[in-house]
Assembly symmetry: C2
Amino acid sequence: MTLRTVAEHRERVLAVLPTRHRTRRVPLEQAHGLVLAAPATAQEAVPRFDNAAMDGYAVRHADLRVGGVLTVVGEVRAGVAPAFEVAAGQAARIMTGAFLPEGADTVVPFELTDDGRDQVRIDDVPDLGRHIRRAAEDVEVGDLVAESGVVVDALTLAALAATGVADVLVVERPRVAVISTGSELCPPGAPLGAGQIPESNSLMIAGLVEEAGADVVSRTSVPDDPWAVETAVRAAEEAEADLVVLSGGVSAGDYDVVRLSLADRLEFVGVAMSPGRPQGVGLLGDLPVVAVPGNPVAAAVSVEVFVRPAVLTLAGRRETTRPVMSALASQGWTSKGDREQYTAVRLELSENGAWAHPLAPGSHRAGSLAAVEGWAVVPLGTSAVRRGDRVDVLVVR
Amino acid sequence: MTLRTVAEHRERVLAVLPTRHRTRRVPLEQAHGLVLAAPATAQEAVPRFDNAAMDGYAVRHADLRVGGVLTVVGEVRAGVAPAFEVAAGQAARIMTGAFLPEGADTVVPFELTDDGRDQVRIDDVPDLGRHIRRAAEDVEVGDLVAESGVVVDALTLAALAATGVADVLVVERPRVAVISTGSELCPPGAPLGAGQIPESNSLMIAGLVEEAGADVVSRTSVPDDPWAVETAVRAAEEAEADLVVLSGGVSAGDYDVVRLSLADRLEFVGVAMSPGRPQGVGLLGDLPVVAVPGNPVAAAVSVEVFVRPAVLTLAGRRETTRPVMSALASQGWTSKGDREQYTAVRLELSENGAWAHPLAPGSHRAGSLAAVEGWAVVPLGTSAVRRGDRVDVLVVR
């Protein structure tokens, strides 16, 4: 059987997604963590007007000489516009951030004066124009503040607010339904029968898609029963999911319920990756569905390389890939040369670069997932990684 | 005036925090994003029992020879325990993940057989013990799965669920009140008078403390009026805040309202840092308060170096520091040698390491905060960074 490459299957997954995003306009105070659906441009300059960078006196530089005295004609506090000008021989007390009065071209900090109230003596002469922040020297009206597809984080919020942006167009968070299948799976805390194990994939997949910026609208675990799978998918449709992620039952076995139930409506294919060879994708009506294997490590890798890019795309994100770090293998391991291998690693940063420490292999090692910091990607055609070889690592934490 | 170092002031901030955390026990499905208050140990082994790593036949290895035929005595599906043993000359069909029957010591994948139902012909002989996952080979009961102080992210959830952990003790999210001061500040969207600018610090600080894992219980902006500051602090107490963060009004000027209002109850000090020299810290009754300067860039840096570690400490986090990246300066800049300087940089990763590109200096450059990827820390005693010099960068995005 010819296997698809990871990149080909990811293209296929992205191809079943709708091309338009639902958007809405929100006041800035509700935008934290959301994704911009349009570029945001400055409505106000920063600074908005020439203002004082220090507490001091606004003066005309031509009047300044050491030991000279100026007449104080008023005071400018932050938040008000001065009702007077500074004429020759005059000075105005001014606070940091306050509007520079007409006529003044320099601010003399209090420390360089006698701090007088009616008259002020100048003890040192700063350069012309010192301690003034010029209007628009940081941002001009109309400048791009944040691009479409970026997450509005705290520093972006600061920049948007400071440039007078009061509301932004954002992408609605995608709605994802997660369905874990397998008759051996029991929800956390339920008593385990012989042959049963705790269900972990639905929590993991729900967590991963939330971390990618989606809302999980339903999360269920169903037995290897076609009727239960159908019911869960129908519930996802009713919950108005934008994407369904199924785990387990995608292989070619006698009880691979996802494949047996949906083979006539989804594509089930082999992908040249390890772990995670059997994969499914397609549309149920209008509803995009991605089906991944049930072994926890295979599920984690499949979500990483197929589902996460899909969620980020639905979320309107500009960047849909994880950072890749070039690291040195701290020990060797083997790979099937005909599969792209994803090896769980811990990362260690040192002066000489990063080390990737491989964790024990095995797609069933769910307990080790707590320690995974990245997935080292061993490319097709490479059958061994030797100690000291350079590997690309998808950094996930 | 002797200035405190950044490290000294951070110690002072941490010293006003309570030493005990509020904790509660939550079911695993409510734990995503929360911080463990106690180590979590495995309640079940992974694998829980010896099981098949492939769909195939569970057999006794001693019976195997190429072309040999075994009697199929039953089938084991995932989720059930077999009610029979595999005796000499016998085989059981078995599905991936299913409980290995007594007597069997090896699994022969379907592909190496004629896939028979009553009898099965063996076409190839795997090694003894192949295609079996051994009980506890990943995790044993009692093993540490996740340490106290870690955030329960999706992969940690997976490991906890898989090891039979049904509920976890977590730290209650800290409650933070944010108060921005300054008579020149108008909320986003409100019409701006002459001399006024949009208020951005409260959104930024609220966003940064949320990103550190806190809930913001109140967020207000007040004029330079002692009564307004008092009222806002009282509201924070009533909202049962664990920490109040004030911005603006901490310097020694005539209208520095935070300092003027609270000088008898908090310490106001100079810290050897740039930007962000004037800082305040203390307790109002039992309520920890940190006061930072109002210039947006100074506020951002102060939150980064004082408030964020405080929030992470309140949140029970093990790690309270950002990752530090060693980068090369792409161009030079000057520093006051008597202050630890925090320079906004963009980061560029290349084959040869990271480059730090300094943004234009100025603590008022709120619009540029959208572009900050890190803060290059220029240590005390260094008055210039030259192109190509190595700098430590606190990575914030």
